[in-house]
């Protein structure tokens, strides 16, 4: 696929369709891949990669890139296209300045996920069938791909591209996803257990803002948490209240717009399962206001921008039973 992509990018550069390409650039190790803009065939040959470690979602970069001169070529994985659609819908990107090539994806992992599985000292990674063969300083290790994938790929919601100008490879289908399983499990717990669970997770937050800055739905010019006049601008999670506040408000702010791309959880240096907050909102919206997938198209209005006179009352939260 990488070869095909480079060839197609060169063609599009050559025939003047685009003047630059946003893609993944190889690093020092097998897994440290950086998003980069390429503007010539030589640059593409020198550094462009597409492999199992190209997890970064480029949609948000297009907010800035599409405002520059000329058209940009972007390669989008199926889940990235949902974010792309959502940003198009919100007029955050200039669609006409972008040429989208959809590329297939069967799950992307990263160095950190491998390390959590106990594989350290990674010097090289080869993909062999359904496994990764990892060269380490301390010998060769083999791990099944399915074991090395992060949660967002294990519960992939769709392998279908919802926005593209052309596709490389076959398009997939919307998947049967079990992505709400953990949310359901939490809902079934007692309030004390849930509180303990979230304190355990959120207390690790270091307020690096990576989740916010990577999020394709967080595109405010100035975030309320950076605005000194808001009265809540705080740089550090000084206590448990601020951890809660930041994550509740952040999740709320993207409710109905979050496509569940999972970037927040991918980038969290403390591995906080932030997607569980977003998925709770998605699940609630599905249950209360009807099935809704943000980014599925560019027309439907977001659930929090519309209403129905027969909507459920907030008291439904108390009536659902349990504690």
């Amino acid at each position: 696929m990488q070869g095909k992509m480079i060839a197609r990018a060169k063609e599009l550069l050559q025939n003047g369709t685009v003047n630059r390409v946003i893609g993944w650039k190889a690093g020092d190790f097998a897994y440290d891949i950086t998003p980069a803009v390429f503007s010539s065939a030589e640059e593409l040959d020198a550094g462009f990669v597409y492999n199992d470690f190209c997890g970064a979602n480029f949609s948000k970069y297009l907010v800035k890139e599409s405002r520059k001169e000329g058209k940009i070529l972007v390669f989008l994985k199926p889940c990235d296209t949902y974010s792309f659609n959502q940003l198009t819908k919100e007029h955050r990107i200039i669609r006409d300045n972008i040429y989208v090539v959809g590329v297939p994806c069967d799950g992307k992992t990263d160095g950190e996920t491998l390390k959590l599985k106990g594989i350290t000292g990674i010097t090289g990674i080869k993909t062999e069938g359904d496994s990764f063969v990892v060269d380490t300083l301390y010998g060769e290790k083999t791990i099944a791909k399915a074991d090395a994938l992060p949660e967002r790929c294990l519960s992939c919601k769709s392998k279908k591209h919802v926005a593209y100008d052309e596709l490389l490879g076959e398009d997939g289908e919307v998947c049967e996803s079990n992505r709400f399983d953990m949310v359901e499990k939490l809902e079934a717990m007692s309030s004390e257990e849930r509180f303990a669970f979230w304190r355990g997770e959120l207390s690790r937050c270091i307020r690096c803002n990576a989740c916010r800055n990577v999020c394709p739905a967080c595109t405010c010019e100035r975030c309320v948490f950076d605005n000194d006049n808001s009265g809540i601008a705080q740089k550090a999670a000084a206590d448990s209240f601020e951890e809660n506040m930041f994550h509740i408000i952040r999740a709320f702010h993207v409710a109905g717009r979050c496509t569940d791309c999972g970037e927040c959880s991918r980038v969290c240096p403390q591995n906080i399962p932030l997607h569980l907050l977003n998925r709770k909102f998605i699940k609630d919206i599905n249950e209360f206001y009807g099935e809704f997938q943000a980014g599925e198209d560019t027309e439907t209005r977001a659930p929090l921008n519309i209403f129905d006179t027969e909507d459920v009352e907030p008291s439904i939260v108390y009536e659902k039973g349990g504690n």
């Binding site: 303990a196 669970f197 009265g231 408000i249 659930p303 009352e313 939260v317």
Partner: protein
């Protein structure tokens, strides 16, 4: 959990829309209906003005319970404000519950300008519920509690 049930007096913040609920509170007053003085009313132009941040900030500054009151659905002074507010608060309260914060500490009630009695009854009932729950511990900001 409660140290001193008898002495605990909760702080309640009530966001009331200017057109219905605030007038309802007024009516409760002029009709001399009793409701606890622990309820601090904050008047907002419309229930739709209530940002989720307001609710959290109220808890941060020491509220033990937060209630939002607006016009009955369909009767909003601005026609549709409370419909949006309804969706927002439903999701927010559900999220608070999901995080393990007692869901009984938050509430929405629709109170019209003519419902002075409902206002008083709602507040009495809410204060009673929150008193039973005790002090807000799960969504507190210790820095604001030190005296």
């Amino acid at each position: 959990m409660q140290v001193n049930e008898k002495e605990f007096k909760p702080t309640i913040v009530a966001f009331c829309c200017n057109w219905c609920s605030y007038a309802g509170a007024d009516l409760a007053g002029t009709n001399r209906l009793n409701y606890p003085a622990d309820v601090k009313i904050i008047r907002v132009p419309c229930s739709c003005r209530v940002n989720p941040m307001f609710i959290l900030r109220a808890f941060q500054r020491g509220a033990d319970g937060v209630i939002m009151c607006g016009c009955h659905p369909g009767d909003c002074h601005y026609t549709t404000g409370n419909y949006y507010a309804r969706r927002r608060m439903t999701l927010l309260f559900s999220m608070l519950d999901y995080l393990g914060i007692e869901r009984e500490r938050t509430r929405v009630e629709w109170v019209s300008a003519a419902e002075g009695a409902k206002f008083a009854a709602t507040m009495n009932e809410f204060v009673e519920t929150v008193t039973k729950l005790g002090e807000n511990k799960r969504l507190e900001d210790l820095r604001c509690k030190e005296k």
